[in-house]
Symmetry: C2
Subunit: 409 residues, 2 copies
């Protein structure tokens, strides 16, 4: 008999029929003897409908009132799910974020969970009830409704699991797990049985948008076993996200992430002096442009070349800023390229296995793919290449590291 927190996203509860499916799935767990706490999102489309109503009135609605407005979306779902559970003989009770005291800071629309008062939930579990909690929302010290931002229901689920010391937090979604890479790019992509929190963070932040990053951080911090499952297919085991110790050495590489939304900017011939990096990146950051990869090379003539990548939507803005900086610093020229992508190899196995970078470069070179930038971290190697090589590059690496195989030799 385990205590399980399950989270169902907007698509999984997108209609009355789907809500009834979720109820049946929850009941299966109950019938097996498990205690279940369910966290749900708003029915798909509902949050957008509410935002459209507000935007029909004002382009700049207050964040406090937007939270009051959009939090009704999950409140509708919790009531409907309880009604569906009760109909099939499953005792259930719903709670809004405020009712279960999901205490957050007051940063409306992007609040952070500070504490959960789980006394009432525990009492319900003890009484044999399924507890259904509205995801995505909380309440601040003043009693005002807050929301955690899009995808925040994942975080609610993980926080509930941590507070209740649940045996597992299951995130039901429209995919059946985490893959070695995007199956739309590499049809041979394989579903992973396990992945570490760190690897998942790298995979998620690089574009595998299965889970909200913050929820993975949270799960890692509180060591909540997290499982990604399909809400549309029965019987799958999904992918379990755990601490490293449990499966270290199982594979050198977990998967290949990529990001199509990159653009790269280079400032050439900058007189090399202390503080030059700050002088270049300072104005960019002040303009709220996030910088991803950074590479600097010093030339022999006392100047330096400095290259960084930004989100493609910020490319023009960054270019304008950089041109001004170049003039101030007396740099030779500024060049940019918005037609690039980033491909990353992710895996905790890198820590203990040498030669992964050279194997990666060899695989790309064999296909004639020119590497424009390289950046490495402890469990990730990222390269920037021309966008036309994205699919070819991902497939070449997937083959080279034998990710399609059931197990790595």
């Amino acid at each position: 008999m385990a205590l399980i927190v399950q989270k169902y996203g907007g698509t999984s509860v997108g209609s009355v029929e789907r809500i009834e499916n979720v109820a049946r799935r929850v009941k299966q767990h109950r019938d097996r003897g498990d205690d279940v706490v369910v966290v749900v999102s708003a029915m798909s489309g509902e949050t957008n409908r509410l935002i459209a109503l507000a935007n029909a009135i004002s382009d700049t609605p207050s964040a406090r009132e937007m939270d009051v407005l959009v939090s009704t979306g999950e409140q509708v779902t919790i009531a409907l799910l309880c009604i569906a559970l009760q109909k099939i003989g499953c005792n259930a009770r719903s709670y809004t974020g405020a009712q279960v005291h999901i205490l957050t800071d007051s940063a409306h629309s992007k609040a952070r969970i500070m504490d959960i008062d789980h006394a009432r939930v525990c009492a319900d579990i003890k009484a044999g009830r399924v507890v259904v909690v509205a995801g995505f929302q909380g309440v601040d010290e003043a009693g005002d409704i807050t929301t955690l931002g899009r995808g925040g229901s994942d975080t609610t689920a993980v926080a509930m699991a941590a507070a209740l010391k649940a045996d597992e937090c299951q995130i039901f979604t429209d995919v059946d797990g985490v893959y070695t890479t995007d199956p739309r790019v590499e049809p041979k992509a394989r579903k992973l049985d396990r992945i570490t929190f760190e690897e998942m963070l790298e995979m998620a932040s690089l574009g595998s948008k299965v889970l909200q990053i913050r929820s993975v951080e949270f799960a890692g911090k509180y060591n909540v076993p997290l499982r990604v499952l399909s809400s549309f297919e029965d019987g799958g085991e999904g992918t379990l996200i755990t601490l490293e110790e449990e499966h270290v050495e199982a594979a050198k590489i977990a998967g290949i992430a990529f990001n199509r939304d990159e653009a790269k900017l280079t400032i050439r011939g900058v007189p090399d002096q202390p503080g030059v990096a700050y002088k270049i990146l300072g104005p960019v950051g002040e303009a709220n442009v996030e910088v991803d990869m950074i590479v600097q090379n010093v030339a022999n003539d006392g100047t330096t070349d400095f290259t960084f990548t930004v989100n493609r939507s910020d490319y023009r803005k960054a270019l304008d800023i950089l041109n001004k900086t170049a003039a101030e610093l007396g740099a030779r020229e500024v060049v940019g390229d918005a037609k690039i992508v980033k491909i990353s190899l992710v895996g905790v196995g890198m820590r203990s296995h040498a030669g992964i970078a050279s194997k990666m470069f060899a695989a790309l070179s064999k296909e004639g793919i020119n590497i424009l930038m390289i950046s490495t971290s402890e469990i990730k190697i990222s390269v920037v290449v021309d966008e036309k090589y994205l699919e070819l590059g991902v497939r070449a690496l997937h083959d080279a590291f034998e990710l399609a195989e059931e197990s790595v030799a």
Copy 2:
């Protein structure tokens, strides 16, 4: 500078444009220097949409979860109204029933307000904010969401006005006030400037569905001046509902109410003995059939005739019960008539003016209208007549009591 509580119903906030109209109207009051607390209902159609979702899952959804579900309707409106107010430069803040601690009992879907913690609202008023409160909803001791039943937003408004000791509670609706009778029946019907709480109760319970009865009782109990106004026409004064003292003698008759949904049943030749009324009405009440008028006549032969009216939808059910009772009691016969209506003359002036009943009977007799039953209370005389006489009867009484005139001689 007055403190005014305004309530806008579902039709008045039925679209984004109408919500913006409400915001403009509230701002006019603010600009005049008044403090304003606004109570709003769900946008028209929204409550029904939510109920339909629940009913698509279950015919018997739990009352607790239904309250969680439908209370989202008002929550959407309060947020949108605040956004609209802020857009036109009016500082505003929204509160759900739970946030403003509208404490009720735990009778889900028909809860009664027990207390309001108005500290937060007072602080906002002091800070120059318009406070927007979700009508129709509250919270019980356990922290569960409750609703007051349909039309409960009126009660919320009156309760807020009572708690805040507001100068006036204004109910904005789709009519511009309370009329001497239904203008669809008597085109000469006149809008009343004033009416007493007691008269309004009689008018409301008899079918003038302008205000929820409970809100009028509440206003009377706490002596909250209540005004009914149109939310679609500017500048009208509406109808003020006040304590009797303020306008006693102003008019003998406030208006004429009527009810088309009546049916009448008679049991004849019942052996007259103590407790016979209970023996007849007991089984009717046990079947949850509400009895309205009751008339009993004792004949000379030691038997009695007993007549009562019920809602027309309960007619068949009541007839079946009465037939059984008649057999048990050895009564002569049971007769019924579902084609009757009730017409009532309402006015506190009756207390001090004799001859009103006879004037009423004379007016009806002059038109050849046969009176089937009569029932009187302190401020009301009701007659039952054949339904074909409804319009004729209402107009005859409206003329006889000169209700169309600006003032009664």
